[in-house]
């Protein structure tokens, strides 16, 4: 299989910060909002370079969403920044009415998604945000896999007109996608062609899927690996094409198996092409404190878990 090289570990939130810096220089309509988490969101440079286009909201996420909606009236493109939990669950109804239903051009940018934020524990580790956002009509839901892709996604969504949820994380992870990639919303990225099983991964789990595929290759299993950076709109075609070839699928995400990408794919396949599927996701539990690696191990979210799931689903073909 194709070898992917880690260009040096980095956090996806820094990719977001770099994207914001670029947008600050290239798109005068872009404004940033933050709810007392500038450092965590890595937007200090944007602020330094564009102090007038930054709004410090304080610890008031609901207000932030409403202000963002209001800023679109007058032609601004607001990017809101806080942790994923406070970007979604805390403000679901505000997003629903003032942004999604109102069709406002707001980019909801969420750091510290998933369990890998680590030590802060369950109150901060949202494992439901993909589900929350995907249920909103008209919302685009994006979860890029590494620094480079997060930067590219950040820049790309400014050119898309409409509400977007962009999810990224805290830990430093492998950075392996091209520096100068073009990010196409809704277009799955084929990372490795294979014939025995389809692995569909999103976010931090994409690198893990590639590791699993490598390990599987040594066991004679040819795994197709697809990076679904856009969970909504889902690239139905890419997924269907792949499972029609491989006949089975493993989906993996840093999210509860209930309501996430995996279930979206189950729903798609159930109506189009019923296929054995295994979920590599959290099993309807809250997270806890720990290091990212410990947590990914304990909650079954790494390449070993993916490998195991592949071997299981292969038996069910």
């Amino acid at each position: 299989m194709k070898k992917y090289v880690d260009q040096g570990k980095n956090d996806t939130r820094s990719g977001f910060g770099a994207g914001m810096t670029e947008l600050g220089r290239t798109n005068p309509k872009v404004v940033a909002l933050c709810a007392d988490l500038i450092g965590s969101l890595k937007i200090q440079q944007f602020i330094d370079e564009n102090p007038d286009r930054f709004f410090q909201i304080g610890i008031a996420e609901a207000n932030m969403m409403g202000i963002a909606a209001g800023l679109t009236i007058g032609g601004k493109i607001p990017f809101t920044g806080t942790f994923a939990n406070f970007s979604t669950g805390r403000v679901y109804d505000q997003i629903r009415q003032s942004i999604a239903y109102s069709g406002k051009n707001v980019k909801i940018c969420a750091s510290h998604a998933g369990i890998t934020l680590g030590e802060d524990g369950a109150t901060h580790q949202i494992l439901e945000d993909i589900g929350l956002m995907k249920m909103l009509p008209g919302m685009v839901v994006i979860n890029p896999c590494d620094y480079n892709q997060t930067k590219a996604a950040t820049i790309a969504i400014a050119d898309y007109e409409g509400p977007v949820y962009l999810r990224f994380g805290r830990p430093k992870v492998a950075n392996f996608t091209p520096v100068d990639q073009k990010f196409e919303i809704g277009k799955a990225v084929m990372l490795n062609e294979g014939t025995d099983v389809t692995i569909v991964a999103t976010g931090h789990l994409v690198w893990e899927a590639l590791q699993a595929a490598e390990a599987l290759e040594t066991q004679g299993v040819s795994a197709e690996v697809i990076n679904i950076h856009t969970i909504k709109p889902l690239d139905d075609e890419a997924i269907l094409k792949s499972v029609k070839k491989t006949g089975c699928i493993v989906t993996t995400e840093e999210h509860n198996y209930l309501g996430g990408l995996g279930e979206s794919i189950s729903g798609l396949l159930a109506t189009q092409h019923p296929t054995p599927q295994e979920f590599v996701a959290t099993q309807d539990t809250f997270g806890e404190s720990g290091t990212p690696a410990q947590l990914m191990e304990k909650y079954g979210l790494n390449n070993k878990a993916i490998e195991k799931a592949v071997l299981k689903v292969l038996k069910r073909k």
């Binding site: 609901a62 409403g66 202000i67 909606a69 209001g70 009236i73 007058g74 009415q97 069709g103």
Partner: protein
């Protein structure tokens, strides 16, 4: 859907050419708007007449005399005053005022709350109704939106103002207090937020549901400029009060207007009670109510 932009230019209404001179002319629109409200909610046997009637004088005066409006509508509203209705349940008065101002045909008031209508139970941008810039209905969100729009005006060097309207019961929602703290903290002084102080909400008076104490003291403690209009159903009082409010903008503080209104104003049996918050009149009740408000500009 989400990229669709509505932009219309009024054909028959060069509204800003001259402001209306006489209170009586405003009063005529007020009475006609009351009729519109009553007939709308009666027709579909649902909707919220109480708060709508209580805010009729205010909204009619705002749109016809106080606001600087462009001769058309687009979402951005650059170079004009903006209005946001946070207590979206009083959509009947909003729709009537917009229609009679020329944002859409008055005949469309016939479609209120019917399927496939642009006149949804609560105002929305989703169906592209000119005049509406944000959905409301879930309470407590409008002040934040108004602040955002006001801050966009500042970024755009647009000297025009942003107005908003909120229920008193609605102020029980915490998001308002986030917005109230922010607006003064960040000196959003091109915003005039008006509170419909009718003392009523769904389950009873605000005092029985959740006593809200002294709202003036609260806004002042949150460093707003506060101004009361004691006769919130009197057009002249509204004109005076709102002119004063306008004078207070641009001075570093957001401005709050406490508008003392009577729920159900203009229809004797609907006045002073929460009973008509969200109930439509029967045929006979409608007839009585319309008798008390004789046609002025012509029914839709």
């Amino acid at each position: 859907m989400y990229t669709q932009k509505i932009a219309i230019t009024f054909e028959n209404h060069k509204q800003n050419v001259q402001k209306m001179a006489k209170i009586e002319e405003i009063q005529d629109i007020v009475v006609q708007t009351r009729r519109d409200i009553l007939r709308m909610v009666h027709k579909v046997n649902s909707g919220h007449p109480g708060g709508s009637l209580g805010c009729t004088e205010f909204l009619v005066t705002l749109y016809n005399e106080l606001m600087d409006l462009n001769d058309g509508f687009d979402m951005d509203g650059i170079g004009e005053d903006l209005f946001f209705l946070s207590n979206g349940h009083i959509s009947p008065v909003f729709y009537s005022v917009l229609a009679r101002k020329g944002y859409f045909d008055v005949d469309e008031l016939n479609t209120f709350r019917l399927i496939d209508s642009r006149l949804q139970g609560h105002p929305t941008t989703h169906e592209g109704l000119p005049g509406v810039r944000i959905a409301s209905g879930s309470l407590g969100q409008g002040m934040s939106v108004a602040i955002g729009a006001a801050q966009a005006k500042k970024l755009n060097n647009d000297p025009k103002l942003v107005y908003s309207l909120h229920g008193d019961g609605e102020l029980q929602e915490g998001q308002n207090w986030e917005a109230i703290m922010y607006a003064s903290g960040k000196k959003v002084d091109n915003l005039i937020a008006t509170i419909d102080l009718n003392g009523q909400q769904i389950d009873g008076s605000t005092d029985t549901v959740l006593p809200m104490g002294d709202l003036k003291a609260k806004f002042e403690a949150f460093d707003w400029e506060v101004l009361e209009i004691k006769e919130g159903n009197d057009v002249q009082a509204i004109l005076n009060g709102m002119q004063e409010a306008k004078n207070k903008t641009g001075k570093g503080k957001p401005v709050c207007v406490l508008l003392h209104t009577v729920m159900g104003n203009g229809v004797d049996f609907m006045m002073h009670t929460h009973a008509w918050h969200g109930k439509a009149p029967s045929d006979e009740q409608l007839a009585t109510a319309l008798e008390q408000n004789a046609e002025t500009l012509g029914d839709y």
